[in-house]
Amino acid sequence: MQKIKYLLSSFILLCFLMVGFVAHGANPDEILEDVKLEDRAREISAKVRCMVCQNQSIDDSEAEVARDLRILIREKLVEGKSNQEIYDFLVSKYGEFILLQPRLKSNTLLLWGLPILALFLGIIGLFMFLRKKPQEEKAELSKEEEEALKKLLSE
């Protein structure tokens, strides 16, 4: 039993040495050791725009600027800053453009509100449509339509 344990642990050690560096993150050398902080770093990175890329988050981008920002975010996290403080800092430095998820402000009210408004109006419209008195409608076919129908049926 002892032997197995020994073998196992040496195997794990071997793996560790051979693998070099295993981690989850953007670039291996950026990863924080604290798993919780690293998770938060990735959560934030996914919501921050890479300013020089086409519609990429810094989490996805290989650009130098993105890398710098990722490291910056991790430094701030290690300092003990909250997510909100980091977003605020980024916005103060780069403007609202850097956030992929726009914050609810006066100029984005319509953006967030539109889907809700559309749904609401749709439901109201629907309600009014359905409330219409169920009157019996007579949809008589016109002569032309009758002929067209006959033709269609006989084909």
């Binding site: 295993v22 989850h24 993150g25 953007a26 670039n27 990429q56 453009f97 992929l100 319509l110 539109l114």
Partner: protein
């Protein structure tokens, strides 16, 4: 069109001849350009800019539409093909409707041809003929370029026909179930191609861009997704109109909106407005031209709609709980989803143009908004087809799906048991996907009478069910399959990013990846360095993967090619990152469980569309079915 207005049948007849002639002429210019590409005729500026004589013949040919001018030419070619199809095969249409449709189609065609002639001439010549071309953008040198744009354009442009039908009906003031019956196959055809085109594009981006994402909510993607959403809504509302003569006005409006969104997509992609509002402002010619076309058609058709819509009869009535009700619900949600994607795409552009404030709207906006709107749609999806027209019996439906619900709840519970340490929402998502997949066949099962009649008879009945019913089942099943893939890969994806040197290995989800080293290779128009990896499972080498870095010599641009290993529906995905200083290489390895299902689901959707298309009721009315249709119409009367 003028002919139809005056009721002159001779003038109306000319449309039938004009359409094929236009088609012939446009095909001629398209294939001339293609010929120039294939033979590497660099006296044509467009060919010189986007081709290279050493490219494989496939990419030389597909390069024809791998650029602005050529792709616009493909656009109008497909437009002309659709017009030609109606002219040649739309014999069952009333002459007046057909002439009007062709007239509208000709208008669209004429304006886009003018656009090409004035702003995007693909045949511009160069005085000093260069010896060699500038090469096609490396990302486009892929089989994806051969398939994706044509499919997508057939979809986009196919909706022009639906639009033409809608406008024709508005001009004529005649809108009936027969109209919906003529329109639906064309819409379905466009939808099938658009679905395939979007799916293809998504898979192409997935393996070509190399960061493992399959949908980026990029404005260009949204541009194709919006017509798909509203087109899907249109399919469902046209169904109500065809069967029950209800929702007429709404259907026409949707037809107009869908094509407007196609045009808007063309505008967004082709005007350069997306890269930046400023890029648009510095070279406004093309953008303004498409914008003018956009305003002309959307404005014109909506004006016509406003003018005529109150003359149209509203049509049949139904209770909230009914087949129509479910389809209306689908329309409500899909339209809202379209609006949310639309506002997310356009809002930053409009805001910047108006106030100068720059904001970004990315995946963190679209995912929750869109996801929340789709949730109820998928919940209701299996129930809809079980409800009766006009007035459904919700209790009855629930009784019928009782066993199914139990099954889904059990499956979800089992999923929780196995995946308890994953995200807690994920098993619910899996359950929803299974609900959609199994529920899709509930209608077939009930109509065939499984469990009620002997098995053999039920199977017999099953194959006699109409194609459209099979179509619905397959398309809904496909959506469930896609959802299963999405949930699974979003929740359970594993990622391992490591610096590796030759001889080192990495682990992911039970696989061992051994880096063996690099092999340089020389190709016609690029050099490549393949990194070779052995993939081991349980100590045995099961395959080799070779992602590579390429360098295209003419454009001096590097690209990175990922490698994918398929393990069932799951994938192992390796992409190469930067080279590190001491001979190491950053290697990104992903385990993507069930990701293939995302695209396999779309194949089922396309198949579903095809089943509905070949439904014989659309092709000819067999006497037996004609009787049934008569009943439909008498139904529609009350």
């Amino acid at each position: 069109m003028i002919g139809a207005y005056k009721g002159d049948s001779r003038l109306m007849g000319t449309a039938l001849i004009n359409a094929p002639i236009t088609l012939l002429l446009i095909s001629f210019s398209f294939f001339t350009l293609m010929y120039a590409y294939v033979t590497s005729d660099f006296s044509v500026k467009n060919v010189w800019e986007n081709s290279h004589s050493l490219q494989p013949i496939l990419y030389r040919a597909t390069g024809t539409w791998g650029n602005h001018e050529g792709s616009m030419l493909l656009w109008v070619l497909i437009l002309a093909i659709f017009a030609g199809l109606v002219a040649l095969f739309g014999k069952s249409l009333p002459l007046k409707l057909r002439a009007n449709v062709l007239g509208v189609q000709a208008w669209v065609l004429a304006l886009f041809l003018l656009f090409i002639l004035l702003t995007s001439n693909p045949f511009e010549r160069l005085v000093n003929v260069p010896f060699e071309g500038e090469d096609l953008n490396p990302i486009l040198q892929d089989i994806g370029l051969a398939i994706h744009p044509p499919l997508l354009y057939v979809g986009y442009v196919g909706f022009s026909l639906t639009f033409a039908f809608a406008v024709a009906a508005l001009i004529d003031g005649k809108l009936d179930a027969a109209w919906a019956r003529w329109v639906r196959p064309w819409t379905l055809l466009a939808w099938v191609f658009l679905t395939a085109g979007i799916a293809m594009g998504s898979y192409w981006a997935y393996y070509e861009l190399g960061w493992g994402g399959w949908w980026f909510w990029d404005p260009v993607e949204n541009a194709s997704f919006m017509p798909w959403l509203s087109g899907t809504a249109l399919l469902h509302s046209a169904l109500v109109m065809e069967k029950r003569s209800a929702l007429k006005i709404w259907t026409v409006l949707l037809a107009i909106i869908t094509f407007s969104l196609s045009l808007l997509g063309t505008f967004l992609v082709r005007s350069g407005v997306l890269t930046s509002v400023h890029a648009f402002a510095t070279d406004p010619e093309r953008g303004l031209f498409i914008l003018a076309i956009l305003v002309f058609f959307i404005g014109g058709s909506l004006f016509l709609f406003a003018l005529r819509s109150n003359q149209l009869q509203a049509g049949g009535i139904f209770a909230p709980i009914s087949r129509e009700g479910a389809l209306v619900f689908n329309n409500l949600m899909l339209t809202t989803a379209t609006i949310s994607v639309l506002s997310g795409t356009l809002y930053p552009l409009i805001l910047e143009a108006l106030t100068g404030d720059k904001i970004s709207v990315g995946a963190p906006y679209f995912n929750p908004t869109f996801g929340l709107l789709m949730l109820p749609v998928i919940l209701v999806m299996p129930l809809g087809p079980l409800l009766a027209w006009k007035r459904g019996d919700i209790v009855g439906v629930f009784q019928r799906v009782f066993a199914l619900s139990l099954f889904v709840i059990c499956a979800t519970a089992i999923a929780y048991g196995f995946l308890y340490d994953g995200p807690w929402l994920a098993p619910l998502g899996l359950g929803l996907a299974i609900w959609a997949m199994v529920g899709a066949f509930a209608e077939l099962q009930l109509r065939a009478g499984f469990f009620n009649v002997p098995l053999g008879k039920a199977v017999q009945r099953l194959f006699k069910l109409p194609g459209s019913m099979w179509g619905t089942a397959f398309a809904h099943f496909g959506l469930g399959v896609t959802l299963l893939g999405i949930v699974s890969v979003t929740a359970y994806e594993q990622e391992n990013i490591v610096v590796m040197k030759p001889g080192q290995q990495a682990e992911i989800s039970g696989y061992t990846i051994v880096y063996k080293g690099n092999v340089p290779r020389q190709y016609a128009n690029y050099i490549s360095e393949d990194s070779r990896f052995d993939i081991l499972r349980g100590g045995n080498v099961i395959t080799e993967m070779a992602p590579s870095k390429r360098f295209y010599t003419t454009r001096k641009s590097p690209t990175s090619e990922s490698a994918i290993y398929h393990a069932g529906f799951s994938q192992l995905y390796i992409a190469l990152g930067e080279r590190e200083d001491q001979g190491g290489m950053i290697v990104r390895i992903w385990w993507k469980p069930l990701i293939s299902l995302i695209w396999i689901g779309t194949i089922f959707m396309v198949l579903g569309g095809c089943f509905s298309l070949v439904d014989r009721r659309y092709r000819y009315a067999v006497p037996k079915l004609a009787k049934q249709k008569k009943e439909d119409i008498t139904d529609a009367k009350d």
